[in-house]
Structure formats: C-alpha cells, structure tokens
Symmetry: C2
C-alpha cells in the first residue's frame, strides 16, 4: 500500500501509474440498470451523525444482534477441524440437501427430495439465478414494491422489465392490490416474485389472497419466486408457502435462507428449492458462479435444521418482545399509524400525518430531521424500490432486529416526544 494520499504512483518498473488518467472502462449497458441496497446510505448518515458525538438508535439496520446458536457454531468448527476444506458438490453436500428438503417438507406440507435442492451462499443468490434461468430480455416480471430492492435491480440488470405491484393499507395491515396486479399483466409477463412475510411491510397473504394469486399464476402461466426469508420469524399464526397452494409447487422456486431464523447472516448459507428442470440449471449456475458454497459451513446448516431448537426459538421470542415494545410506543405517537405484523422484524408505520404536522413533503427530509432531532435512524419507503407515481402516503421502516428493548423504548420515546411537542405547539 502506498503511504501518501496521491492518486498516482509507480509500477514495478518505476513507470508512473496514473489512476486518475483511467482508461474509460466502457462499462456494459446493463450496468446503468444496476441497483443496490440504498439503505447503506442511511447507515453512512447514521455513522457520520454518531461520529459527531450523538447517540444513534439504529432502527435502519436489518441485521440481527444475536450470536449464532452455539451448537451450530460447534458443528461447523468440527467440520473445519475434520478437514471439510476441499471442494464439495456444486449443489451442496447430500446431507444438507436432504435436511433442507425435510425441513421445508415438514413446515410447508411439501414433498421435495434432495435433488430438488441447490445450496447457495445465502438466500440472495437465488434471486439472480432464478431470473437468469427463466427470464428472457424484455420479459416482464411482477415484483413487490415497496419491497426488497434487489428484485428490481436484478430484473433490470439482466434485461427484464420490472413491473411493480403495490400493497393497499387496510384496517389490519397491507394487502396486495390484486386487481391492479392483474391489470398490469401483458402477454410478455412471465414471472412473479412473492415475499411473504414481506420486507419492509411485514405483510402476509391471507388464504384468499394466495388462492386468487394462484389462479392468476395458472391463468397467465407464470413462474413464481417465493422468497421465504422470514418464513420462520413469526410470533403468532402459521406461515404458508405459496408452493403449498394446490398445483403451485410445479411452477415455484422457493428462496430458503438460514440467515434470519438462526442468526447466520454473515455465514452466507441458503438454498433454492423447486422442480428439477429449474434446480438443475441453478446447480449449473453454481458451477459457473462460485463452484460451491463453503464446505464446512454446510455442516453448521445441518446442525441448525436437525439439532436443538431452543436458541432459535429464544431469538424469535426476544424479537417478539421488541416488536411489542416498539409497537406500543409507535401507536401512541401522534401522526403515526402502525399495524401489527405477525412476523418479520420490521414495522412500517404510515407517517403521512406526522410529516404534515412537521411540515415535510419529502419522507427522506423527514427521516433526516428525525435522526438529527432524536438520534432515531430509520429507512424510508424510498429505500425499497422506485416509488410508484401516484403514491400519496408516506412510510418509514423500523427494523428492530439489531437493537435491544431498552434502546427501542428510549429511542421511540424520543421520537414520540418530538411529535408530541409538535402537536402541542401546533
């Protein structure tokens, strides 16, 4: 590493490398379509604010502040010490593929075999691999918006047309606007991305929504990516996989991840499950993209699924305490309307009235003032896909996966006071 801060230096022959005089990289056209997780910009703002000596309540962070359960750590340590350090099968070690199939079958009433599973370095790789396998350039893909921003990015990066579907706020939560979704279908529509339970809304489909969606999918001969990242992070009721709806397994790929349930975000372990016709292609993409997922980590995954479940259950119960604490205050906060999601670790309150009270029209201006005035750092609706043209309600996302109850209470009380005082003054 050079020790000065200049942008030019010397190569091995003493020839100056002038990095500023870069050869134009002529990046490919698709790069202009590449999105990212813009929430990282929120992290940067929070970090900069904290660096000034302010206390920050990190509600913008979607990572978990739990240790991975020790039995999972131990199983992976054992595998590492046992020399599971060479290549393994591209689609994953057989024992893990079988464990994932068993787990998904038991929890979702399905009937996958090991050959229906392709292990991945995380859940996220399933998004791109699903699209590369099934989407031709120009194909239209229905995706949730607001939703995980990588859907939009990957659809467009790989030449598809990202067609957003929306949610309507009801008395009890959010529902997919199925009529609008159906109206947006054209002869070029090929794929549907579902994320139930949903980031950032915490929404989930009712049996009626699933039923209607499955009719639409059959009628228009769509294939479905069912992103089930939060399937096991729920506090009441039972999660349902779209693949469990009659006849849908044959046209659905499930995105499975170890990240949330087992506090394994940094391990990068997940899987795609689906019909062999698609899973075989995804396994070949594994050969092309990364050969295989880390070998010894996969033994941790086996232990996660087959070992003691005390700690994963404790994680969910702690998350529930956090949800309850956050919700209680938010519901007492002027100008804020927040429904109770039964899962995920997100709250997505409507802050339209709060913004009106404070005189804001732009939700990110509001978000930044909240940070400055209270230390509470959140993402806004704008970090979850391009806002649709006729939106008139404003939302922010509180993630409580990385913040303790006492900090939740302290931070949200400051947020409430900030709006309470305004109400009193107005």
């Amino acid at each position: 590493m050079r020790d000065d801060d200049s942008s030019s230096s010397f190569d091995s022959r003493g020839v100056r490398i002038d990095w500023d005089a870069l050869v134009s990289p002529r990046t490919a056209g698709r790069v202009s379509k590449l999105g990212t997780e813009t929430a990282f910009a929120v992290s940067a703002e929070a970090t900069a604010f904290a660096a000034l000596g302010h206390h920050v309540y990190p509600f913008h962070i979607g990572d978990l502040n739990f240790a991975t359960p020790p039995n999972i750590v131990e199983a992976s340590l054992r595998a590492l010490k046992d020399g599971k350090t060479g290549y393994c099968p591209n689609a994953g070690i057989p024992i893990l593929k079988e464990a994932v199939a068993n787990e998904v079958n038991a929890s979702r009433g399905l009937d996958y075999r090991a050959e229906n599973v392709a292990v991945q370095p995380g859940g996220k790789p399933v998004i791109g691999k699903f699209l590369l396998t099934l989407m031709n350039p120009g194909d239209e893909v229905l995706y949730p918006n607001p939703g995980f921003p990588i859907y939009e990015s990957q659809i467009e990066f790989h030449g598809g047309v990202a067609v957003p579907y929306r949610f309507v706020e009801s008395a009890t939560g959010f529902e997919i606007d199925l009529e609008a979704l159906e109206r947006s279908i054209t002869p070029r529509t090929r794929l549907l991305i579902l994320n139930d339970l949903q980031n950032p809304l915490g929404a989930e489909c009712s049996p009626q929504e699933f039923e209607r969606l499955s009719e639409i999918v059959s009628q228009h001969d769509l294939w479905v990516l069912s992103d089930e990242a939060y399937f096991d992070v729920r506090y009441s009721g039972t999660s349902t996989s779209f693949a469990s709806i009659a006849d849908m397994a044959r046209r659905t790929v499930i995105l499975y991840t170890f990240s949330k349930r087992f506090a394994m975000t940094g391990w990068r372990l997940g899987a795609a499950l689906g019909p062999r016709s698609v899973i075989d292609v995804i396994a070949t993409l594994n050969v092309n993209d990364e050969s295989c997922t880390n070998h010894f980590v996969q033994y941790g995954g086996v232990e996660a699924l087959t070992g003691d479940q005390t700690e994963p259950r404790r994680i969910v119960s702690v998350l529930k305490e956090r949800r309850d604490a956050a919700l209680k205050i938010l519901r007492a906060t002027p100008g804020v309307r927040c429904y109770e999601p039964r899962g995920t670790f997100y709250l997505f309150p409507n802050v339209t009235e709060a913004m009106r009270i404070k005189g804001f029209e732009d939700v990110d201006d509001f978000r930044r003032e909240v940070l400055r005035e209270t230390g509470v750092s959140v993402c806004s609706r704008t970090h979850f896909g391009r806002p649709q043209v006729d939106e008139d309600q404003h939302y922010v996302r509180f993630a409580y996966s990385g913040i303790e109850v006492d900090q939740i209470v302290e931070g949200l009380e400051r947020f409430r006071s900030y709006l309470d005082l305004s109400t009193a003054a107005s």
Copy 2:
C-alpha cells in the same frame, strides 16, 4: 422425503403433485449457451469404475489433498467464536482488502489500495462479474482454448461472442499463437482473458509474449481479465502479472484466489483487483449477488496472507516432487511428449502418437480405455473448451494435486506399461 421411488406424491392438502407432469419451465434462451465443467463426467466415470472394485489413480481431480494450514484454520475458528457471524461490508472486511492489496503489490510490483479490492466467495465469481461489468451482448471476447471451460460458458451465457485463441507447442512448452490471436480481432473485440500460469497447459507467457500482448491490448483498446489462480503455485522462476506490464494495470482486473496456494478450495475465498471504476461496479454486484463473502472466513484469509508461510511453502515443495515423479515416467512413456511446466499442478502431454499406436482417433475413447486398462483417470483436451476446427494433435491432462507420489508412480508405470507393451507388439 418420500420413501418410495415414484415421481408423484402428495402436497399438504393431499393433492397429488405429479413432478413428471411438469409445467414447461420455458428456460431463458441464454440457458442453451450455459456450459459447465464437463470434467465432472470424468469423475462420475472414475467413481463408477472404482465401484466395480477397480483401483483408480485420480489424475482427473484438480482439487488438493492437503489440509488447510492450521494457523489459517485457527484464525477462522477464533473469528467464528468471536461472533464474526453477522453481515460484513459487501466488498470485504477492510483488514482483508488491505492484506490482499499488500500481498499483490509485494509479489507483483503493483500499487493497489484496499479500495481496489473486492473480496469474493472464491476466485471464480470474478469471471462472471468481470464480464457482466464490461461486456455488452455481441461483444467479442478473446479467451484461451484449451483453457478453463467457465470462460467460454460465461461469455456465451451473458450474450458475448467467445473467440478462442490457441497455443502452439514449442520445444520448451506452449506459446500463445499471437499472430492468430491478432488476426481474430475485429471492431467488436472488447476483452481479453489471460490465465498465466495456465490450466490445463501449465503454460506461461515469456516477457516477449507479455510485451506483444500489451501492445495488442493497447492498440485495440481492450480490457483484460488476468486469472492468476496459479500465480503462487510454481517451482522455479518468478510469476509475472499482466497488470505489472507498463500501462496495463489501468485496464486489467486480477482474479486472485486463496484456493490453491493455501489449500482452501472449499473455503470459497478470493478477490477482484483493478481500477476503482470497475471494482466499484463489482462491489455493487456483490450487493446484488451474495451480499458479502462469509465473514469469519475472511479472518482466515488475513492470517493466510500475513501469518507463517511454512506450510504453504511445504505444499508447493510436495507438489514439485509430484511433478518431477510424474514427468520422469511420462517422458519415458512411448508415444507421449510432455514438457516441464514451472508451475500449476497439471501436466498436459501430447498423446497423438500414443493414440496412433493404440489405434484411437478420439481422445476420449483413448482416455476411457486407459482408465479400463490401467485405472489411470485423466481429463482430455475436450474438457477445456470446444476444440478448434483444425486441431490435429491430441492431449490429456494429468492433475497431480490430489494424488501422492507413490500412487503417481504406480499409476503412471501402469500407463507406461500399457503403451510399452503396445510398442513391443506393434
């Protein structure tokens, strides 16, 4: 998992899922262009042959039968126990990016900073990410053939035109056919993939070849992927990076991997290095594709680069013993011509005459008979890209990374006898 072997079964509602009556997956057009590592078929043949009770000498396997050095294992264990299990920065932890930059700068006389490094889950992901960043559909990409088969696969899968360049066998090894390479350049040629030291040939460029290549690259304004997977697996002389040639760093992306030097193939740890204009895009592809590389594994990478080098050096010295043992017998084998590569763990003998002696025209027929008659399992030229139209010489690849000296000697003596007897008989 179901316990019968039928292809239909029941979903959660008792409705039969008939996997055979699959919905046509309408896979995307690009899937027809997707290649793979066809060498896996050789593994399957060897396994089947061994299952019949035969002894197999696994010269087809490019993996290493060495344990990862214990200090690397320990560093990763410590990080895992220390809770490095959450997300980390998309382009890698700063200390690893700095260690990779330092290592590459010291060994190659270059001057990268941490910001020029994007950590990856292996070296292989750099291939696809380089192409997605710099290659438009229809762009022509020069790639080595015979060569690592994923180049051809990824170029074509992502819509490029794969234009092979060839090697000519000289008295001392293989040289790139630079005249033919230059003749194949058109106005659509944008990229060049180099792999020096090379799989499967073991070839490396002379200073004159590098110089001429750099002139061609400048003249035609190409960008270069320099796959340096075997840079540190060498027995004499010094490796050179194409990025070290004057003016080339500004248009070169280096593929760096921990896999070979540190016997870490199953860890999946590597990096892309290059100008920030490209590395920043590759880091954004990390956000999209896999979020980040396994967090605690990266601490193992830091130890690999900055810790004790005794074991990595021992690995190379053992590989050298294997090369010498294999080469000695191959050079005494009738109909086989084999030059001495100074690095990699491959030998790529010309077996044209051996095939003539045995009456074979197809190199894979020859390969299969060698397996049946001697137990020696190898890959052939056909596993390293589509053979070019006018090839008249035949080659097989012996990998000695996963087989001990005594087995090398025993296996290759059987191979020699197989051809010796034929010579005597003919």
